[in-house]
Structure formats: structure tokens, C-alpha cells
């Protein structure tokens, strides 16, 4: 990839650097390569959309970048930390620097919207000295759910749940947000609202977004679109 410079306030640095990354599933005779020689650089503040057909390896690449899966071959650096061959502890620690938004919202069903957002803040000791309640409520207000802070996920609509998930992902100001099909289960308007919200908050916080989607309606928010097919970036 060519290094394209962007006009943003903070100095442009590379937050994700992938080079010659290969990944395999299965063992022995069943071993199957799913990622082939991936090379990719993402700068801070960039919004990158990754698209491609089902089964092309997008989600696998995303889960490797998020430290949810151990990288096997090649080099993968997240925030200047080599992930390939990293220990479980390093991976767990690294995950705290990343915000995740999933296709299914994956909120804790037994916690209120506010408590779900708080769960993300509680991972960072520096926030515990501050009023995390106020912080969580402020974040929910930013996503337009100021009147729903004490609702359980079961009494929120799909779009509202996804907005709680965004609040949870962004409240602790992560450097990177990884989103997998965040609009897949939403109608056109809610989907649009959700990505615009992500875009707005990300620009405010200067964080990088990598978004995997099939949804052609939201491609316009991207600074850059990358296409994956059969485990290779095109």
C-alpha cells in the first residue's frame, strides 16, 4: 500500500502494520490456508472499510488484528506491538487498547446500558479515580441514548443496542476500533445513523476504524476501501 497522507491534527503514524501475513486453519492433512501474504498499513485516524465476498478471510484478518486469535506466520504489529507469537497475557492487555463492535451487539443481557458501558471503563485503572458513572452517562448521551441509561438490552431496539455497543467501544478512547458488519442486522436508516455516529466520534477522538462490511450503502464514509478475495488483498 502506498502511504497516503491525511490532513488530520495529530501526527500521522502507522497503528496497524501487516506484512507477509499467512494464516492457516486445521492441522495436518486438513490444514487449509485462509490468508495469503497480506500486506497492509493503516495510519492513525484513518477509516478503512474492508469488503469482499463471504468466506474471503475478512473476519479472520480482523480477529487477528484484534488479538482474538494468535497470528501464526509473518508480521502483524498493532500499536507498535508485535502480535505474531505474542503470549496470551500480552494479547489480553493489547485488547484493552482496542474497541470492538460486533454484528450481534453482544451486550451483557443482565446489565443496564450504563453498566455495559462501565464494564469497558473498569478495565482501565486510570478511570476508576474519576466518576465513571458520569462518564458512562455522558457517552450514552453522545450516542443519543441519554434517556435510556437504565434500560436493559432486552428493552432496547436493534439500533439502540448497536449504539450502546458503540458507546461501550469508544468510551475508553481506544486508538483502534474494529467493527464486523455493524449494520448487518439494522434497517437502512438505523444502519446509516450508526456508521455516521461511529465516524463522528472517531474523528473527535482521532481513532482509527477498520470496518468489515457487505453493505454498499455505507462505503462513502471510508477514507479508503480495501477489497479481499480468496484470502488475498486486491
Amino acid at each position: 500500500m502506498l502511504g497516503i497522507s491525511y490532513d488530520i491534527k495529530i501526527a500521522t503514524q502507522t497503528v496497524i502494520e501487516v506484512s507477509q501475513l499467512n494464516h492457516y486453519f486445521g492441522e495436518g492433512a486438513l490444514k487449509k490456508q485462509v490468508l495469503f501474504d497480506i500486506n497492509l498499513q493503516i495510519k492513525s485516524g484513518e477509516i478503512v472499510i474492508m469488503t469482499g465476498p463471504s468466506g474471503s478471510g475478512k473476519t479472520t484478518l480482523l480477529s487477528l488484528m484484534g488479538g482474538l486469535r494468535s497470528a501464526q506466520e509473518g508480521s502483524l504489529q498493532i500499536l507498535n506491538q508485535e502480535v505474531c507469537g505474542a503470549s496470551k497475557r500480552v494479547l489480553t492487555k493489547m485488547r484493552r487498547q482496542i474497541g470492538y463492535i460486533f454484528q450481534a451487539h453482544n451486550l451483557m443481557s443482565f446489565l443496564t446500558a450504563k453498566e455495559n458501558v462501565k464494564m469497558s471503563l473498569e478495565l482501565h485503572p486510570e478511570y476508576l479515580n474519576q466518576d465513571i458513572n458520569t462518564k458512562a452517562i455522558a457517552m450514552l448521551e453522545q450516542v443519543g441514548l441519554g434517556d435510556r441509561v437504565n434500560y436493559y438490552p432486552e428493552s432496547l431496539s436493534g439500533g439502540q443496542k448497536q449504539r450502546v455497543a458503540i458507546a461501550r467501544a469508544l468510551v475508553s478512547h481506544p486508538k483502534i476500533v474494529l467493527a464486523d458488519e455493524p449494520t448487518a442486522s439494522l434497517d437502512k436508516q438505523s444502519g446509516r445513523d450508526v456508521v455516521e455516529l461511529m465516524q463522528k466520534l472517531a474523528k473527535e477522538q482521532g481513532c482509527t476504524i477498520l470496518l468489515v462490511t457487505h453493505d454498499n450503502r455505507i462505503l462513502d464514509i471510508a477514507d479508503r476501501i480495501i477489497y479481499m478475495e480468496d484470502g488475498q488483498l486486491r
Partner: protein, 393 residues
């Protein structure tokens, strides 16, 4: 540090509280298991307490018995000379003796004989710590006048009721006509369904084959300030010239009581039966708590995986599971404690067994409950480990 802990969301508590029905079922299950344990332990201890109740009523600092005397169920006698020999020891104030034997008591209404334990005592100094016996000891001085244990089994007849109405109750004891002239309360035990106190002279008439110088229990009272343990050791050596075939065993009344208790606990099936009951309650508890924790973890597997993806460690989730099981343990234990108190009372009314809640037992069952829930938590942990953050994208 602690205040920071309170700021955190109590995940385990919130998870339990969200599903009230499941929580209620879990708590009911643990309560049931705990009550099972409480009842088994309560019965066992009550039966043992009943068995040793008479021993604890003996008035004496030290007791002499035949070394083969293991239980009131089969008494053994020894020569009274040994007791008199003890009188010569420094520190011994007085001695007293008691005969014990099992006689046939005839219920005058049904005319059915039933074994009953007879205590032959000195009517001037009964040596038994029953206030009613001490108060009415003079009535024992007349031959064939006895006192009856009104807390014994009802099969002996309506002795207490008739005595209180008429002031007398006549029946046959070992085919001798006796009349009840007083009542006291001890209660039934393994060894005896009931008790009778008689004077030594009456006792020897009821048991004509018995020799007056062969006694079952020798009581030794010490002068104030005497070292009981030291004298016990001296007597043990002094009264038994040949330690390999001792004539008498020396001990405190509590030693004597524990010997009886050991007899029932170890050389009968009783200890095993109740131990098995406790074990069953314990296992039932583990299964119930495990079922609850397992379904809780299964239902929330995606959420646990999300927490791992966010950067929560395995240890954190393990902590949540342990907290959950501890909450369950305490929530299930408390009602069982109160319900057991009620059940003990019911049992006491129905059986006259001295069944009470002891602090030691309450603590033991609490500890057992915590262990029970921890084991369940440890088994449910396997399921928790299967929460893989890579699966949720």
C-alpha cells in the same frame, strides 16, 4: 483500593439477580441440601447426647468402672474394694457407688414387659444430678419405692399422668411389686428406652443374683484444689498392680461419657449411616449448584467471550464464577439454618430427643456449603474456558 472495588460493577451479583426464577430454584436446592445435612447431623448428635446424658448426671470428680464397661447397653461390675482403696489417696474426700442393671418393666395396662434401666443408689446420697431425685430422695428409703423417668418411651404406660393424679403407681419390675413415688426427666437413648432410680437395697431385691460388693460405677469426690488429672494418673497406677490386666478404669465423668459415645459411633453402624446421610446431602447440593452455574455460563457464553475480547482476563471470569457460587452458598445456607431450627423443635416434641442447634454445627455446615458450591464452580469452570473470543466475530 477497596473503594475502587466498590466502584466496579458487581457482575456476579447482577447476573444472579437478573434471573430471579433460576436464583430461587438454586437457593431452594441448596437450602434443601443443607437441611438434609442439618437433619442428619442433628439426629446423630441428639442420639449421642441422649446416650451420654446419664453419664453427665453423675455426681463425682472421678469415676471408676470395669475396663470392659463400654456401654450402658451391657454393663460390667467390679469389686467395691477398689473404690474403698481409692479413699486412702491424698485429695479424695468421699466415695459413692451406683448399681446399674436392666430389668423388665410391666406396663399394667397392656401387661407387656419391656426392658428398663435401673439405677441403684444410696438413698442418703444418690450421686445423681437430677434435682427431682435429690429433692425426693427420702421416698427411696422405703423398700420397693422407686422414681420413674417420665421422659422415657410412652410404651411403659401412662406412669407420669397416673402418678400425678393419684400420687402412686404400682407395677411389676422383674416380677417384684414396686410403686413409683417420684418422677424425674432423663429421656430415652440407644441403651435404654427408660430409666428407674431405686435404693441400693431395692436394687438388690430386684436383682437377687447380684452380689452387694459388685458395683457398676464408683464415684470419687475430691477435696477442693486437688489436681484431678494428677490423681487420675495416680489412681490408675495404684489400683491396677498389673497394667496388662487392669481391674478398674479411672476417668472423669466426661471420659466415661465419651467412652459410651465412641461405642455407639464406632462399633455400631450409626456413625456410618448418618455420615452417609450427610454425604448424600453434600452431593445433592453439588449437583444442584453445578446445574445452575452450568446453565448460567452456557446462556451467557457469548457475553463472557465478549468480556474476554474486551480484555478481561480468565482470572476475572473465574472470580465472577466463584463469587456467584459463594453468593449462592450464603443465600441457600441462611434459610436452611432457620428452617432446621424449626425442624429440630418439631423433632424434639415428637421424640423427646435432646436435639438442638449447636454453633459448631452451624459453622461446619456453612463451611461445607461453601466447599460444596466451590466444587460446583470448579466443575462449571470447564464450560467457561470454552468461551473463545475468536468465535464471536
Amino acid at each position: 483500593m477497596i473503594s475502587k472495588l466498590f466502584l466496579k460493577t458487581p457482575l456476579a451479583w447482577r447476573q444472579l439477580m437478573k434471573e430471579r426464577t433460576r436464583l430461587a430454584v438454586a437457593v431452594a436446592g441448596i437450602t434443601f441440601a443443607d437441611m438434609l445435612i442439618f437433619i442428619q447431623m442433628g439426629f446423630e448428635s441428639a442420639l449421642f447426647d441422649a446416650a451420654i446424658q446419664p453419664h453427665r448426671k453423675l455426681l463425682g470428680d472421678l469415676v471408676l468402672i470395669n475396663p470392659q464397661f463400654n456401654s450402658l447397653f451391657s454393663t460390667k461390675s467390679f469389686s467395691r474394694d477398689k473404690l474403698y482403696q481409692a479413699l486412702s489417696y491424698e485429695g479424695v474426700a468421699s466415695v459413692n457407688s451406683i448399681y446399674i442393671g436392666t430389668a423388665q418393666w410391666r406396663n399394667p395396662q397392656t401387661r407387656i414387659d419391656r426392658p428398663i434401666l435401673v439405677w441403684g443408689v444410696d438413698p442418703y446420697q444418690p450421686g445423681l444430678r437430677f434435682p427431682e431425685v435429690e429433692k425426693n430422695k427420702d421416698t427411696l428409703k422405703s423398700l420397693n419405692h422407686i422414681m420413674f423417668d417420665q421422659a422415657g418411651r410412652p410404651e411403659y404406660g401412662e406412669v407420669g399422668k397416673i402418678f400425678q393424679k393419684t400420687g402412686n403407681f404400682q407395677t411389676e419390675l422383674n416380677n417384684n411389686l414396686v410403686s413409683v413415688r417420684g418422677l424425674f426427666s432423663n429421656g430415652a437413648s440407644f441403651a435404654a428406652d427408660g430409666n428407674v432410680v431405686a435404693s441400693d437395697s431395692t436394687f438388690l431385691r430386684l436383682f437377687p443374683q447380684r452380689k452387694s460388693d459388685q458395683i457398676e460405677v464408683g464415684l470419687i469426690n475430691l477435696k477442693p484444689g486437688t489436681d484431678i488429672q494428677k490423681l487420675k494418673a495416680q489412681l490408675k497406677i495404684g489400683l491396677n498392680p498389673d497394667p496388662n490386666s487392669p481391674f478398674v478404669e479411672v476417668g472423669t465423668t466426661e471420659d466415661f461419657a465419651q467412652k459410651e459415645k465412641n461405642y455407639w459411633a464406632t462399633s455400631t453402624g450409626i456413625g456410618f449411616i448418618f455420615g452417609l446421610g450427610v454425604a448424600v446431602g453434600f452431593i445433592v447440593g453439588i449437583v444442584i449448584v453445578y446445574q445452575i452455574l452450568y446453565s448460567d455460563v452456557s446462556d451467557h457464553l457469548a457475553e463472557y467471550a465478549t468480556l474476554k475480547a474486551m480484555g478481561y482476563t480468565d482470572w476475572y471470569l473465574l472470580g465472577v464464577l466463584i463469587q456467584e457460587s459463594l453468593f449462592l452458598a450464603i443465600l441457600g445456607y441462611l434459610p436452611s439454618l432457620f428452617l432446621s431450627l424449626g425442624l429440630y423443635q418439631l423433632t424434639f416434641i415428637a421424640t423427646m430427643l435432646p436435639i438442638t442447634m449447636k454453633a459448631e454445627r452451624a459453622i461446619n455446615v456453612l463451611i461445607l456449603t461453601v466447599i460444596m458450591c466451590s466444587i460446583s464452580g470448579a466443575i462449571a469452570l470447564g464450560k467457561l474456558r470454552s468461551a473463545d473470543p475468536a468465535d464471536i466475530y
